[in-house]
């Protein structure tokens, strides 16, 4: 990237040039993050079309406020913050009281399950976790974000992220020891095309 915060402070004219160069360079990077945004959204809203709607809203907002992104910081984490905010807004609109959904029908995973039985068991167990446990595991264990970045996305103190992560891992262990009830399996199309 061409600019950083210190360079921005060097003067109004330079700042304008730096921002312009930055924004033009960041769009291909944003496009490259779309698959990760889709995965995050898919596991949050549990519906292919609604997840992509959420991603599109996130992209629109991100582009509109691209000047607030700091070059050199984790673009994926920044986009995840926006995506999460979009989701919170949707939940608030749909549930005026603001409570998050607690009913979590199990999601299925695509076929191709000839090998790696343990991996599939882990995926099935993961999908049976609560939304907050799925979220924190996705951000830290799957996407590899730092705890601080996960805390910013989830709007939680760092210590809460740590404890939630610990509980999520324990819940995953517990889920691995319990067979999935067949009645909770939802159609494959809900999650993957």
């Amino acid at each position: 990237m061409a600019a950083n915060g210190n360079q921005h402070a060097q003067g109004q004219g330079w700042q304008n040039v730096a921002v312009a160069r930055r924004t033009s360079e960041v769009f291909p990077l944003i496009e490259a993050e779309i698959p990760h945004l889709r995965r995050f959204a898919r596991y949050v809203v549990r519906d292919v079309d609604r997840a992509d709607d959420l991603v599109q809203e996130c992209l629109t907002r991100a582009i509109a406020k691209i000047h607030t992104w700091t070059p050199g910081t984790n673009l994926r984490a920044w986009l995840f913050v926006i995506l999460k905010n979009c989701h919170i807004n949707v939940v608030r609109r749909e549930r005026p009281s603001g409570e998050m959904p607690t009913d979590h029908p199990m999601l299925n995973v695509p076929a191709n399950q000839d090998a790696h039985i343990n991996l599939l068991e882990v995926r099935d167990a993961y999908l049976r976790l609560s939304e907050e446990h799925r979220e924190v595991l996705l951000l830290v264990a799957i996407e590899g974000l730092r705890y601080e970045e996960a805390a910013a996305i989830l709007k939680l103190p760092l210590g809460t992220v740590r404890s939630r992560l610990s509980r999520a891992r324990q819940a995953l262990r517990d889920a691995l020891e319990e067979p999935a009830p067949m009645s909770t399996i939802t159609p494959l199309s809900r999650v993957a095309r």
Binding site: E31, R39, K65, L137
Partner: protein, 262 residues
């Protein structure tokens, strides 16, 4: 004594080499804890493939175009490249408004530096010029009208009903939202019997462009633009004929009657 945080940091690779080695050494001496940590590490590794199939899916075109159109708009707005001939032409087309009647805007000058509103108009017309002959891509086909209405409500923070243009020979083919200049532009696309296209664009705006001029009637594209109740509208078609004028008037009247005050 290892804490829960130590174990998490160890599993997530957050420890520096010295601390990592210290944890590993302690685990050697505590087989019960080592077994638990080993299980958690295996879990962690297995989790990395969760959703891999989603990453491998083709990206829907609507998501790609959301970024690319915004990139093009930014490049234009920032002066990073000159307007391409097509965009210049399209901008001219978009700024063309038919004077007289029903409150259409008409003015005498084209400003050399269009303001944000006019850049949006240029985007709108450019998009139409680019897609017009094949039909504008839609993200929300007619069967997803309710979803699209919800999206419009969220993005524009108000409801915008869709006009029925069947009496004028135009069937509804779907809608989409496109980003431009920091706002979302709603699109209703219609097609006529001769495969002519008519697209209604709308977006939030505090005021109309300061100056709008009729520039050309030689382009084969007809455009109407107006501003009302906190929204700007453009109706653009590749069929310039009396039906277009009649239809555009109907669209104008429809929103005049059916739009809630924002």
């Amino acid at each position: 004594m290892l804490s829960d945080d130590d174990i998490q940091d160890y599993i997530d690779g957050r420890l520096d080499p010295e601390a990592h080695a210290a944890v590993a050494l302690e685990l050697l001496a505590r087989r019960d804890l080592a077994a638990k940590v080993d299980t958690l590490r295996r879990q962690n590794e297995a989790l990395k493939v969760v959703g891999q199939e989603i990453l491998d899916e083709p990206i829907p075109e609507r998501l790609r175009s959301a970024v690319r159109q915004a990139a093009a708009a930014h490049a234009d707005a920032a002066g990073e490249r000159r307007l391409a001939p097509r965009l210049a032409l399209a901008a001219a087309i978009a700024l063309a408004c038919v004077a007289g009647g029903l409150g259409w805007f008409a003015n005498e000058l084209l400003r050399p530096r269009p303001d944000v509103q006019e850049l949006i108009v240029a985007d709108v017309a450019d998009a139409f010029a680019f897609y017009g002959s094949q039909g504008y891509p839609v993200d929300f086909p007619p069967e997803r009208t309710a979803d699209f209405a919800s999206w419009i409500d969220r993005s524009l923070e108000r409801q915008v009903p869709r006009p029925d243009l069947a009496p004028f020979g135009y069937d509804y083919h779907g809608g989409r939202l496109i980003p431009a200049e920091g706002v979302s532009i709603g699109v209703f696309q219609f097609a006529g019997a001769e495969n002519d296209r008519l697209v209604v664009f709308f977006w939030r705006a505090q005021a109309a462009p300061a100056q709008v001029e009729e520039l050309s009637r030689r382009t084969g594209i007809a455009a109407r633009f107006w501003h009302d109740g906190g929204l700007s509208f453009a109706v653009i078609s590749n069929a310039r004929n009396p039906v277009f004028d009649e239809t555009a008037n109907a669209v104008f009247s429809f929103f005049k009657t059916n739009l809630d005050s924002g």
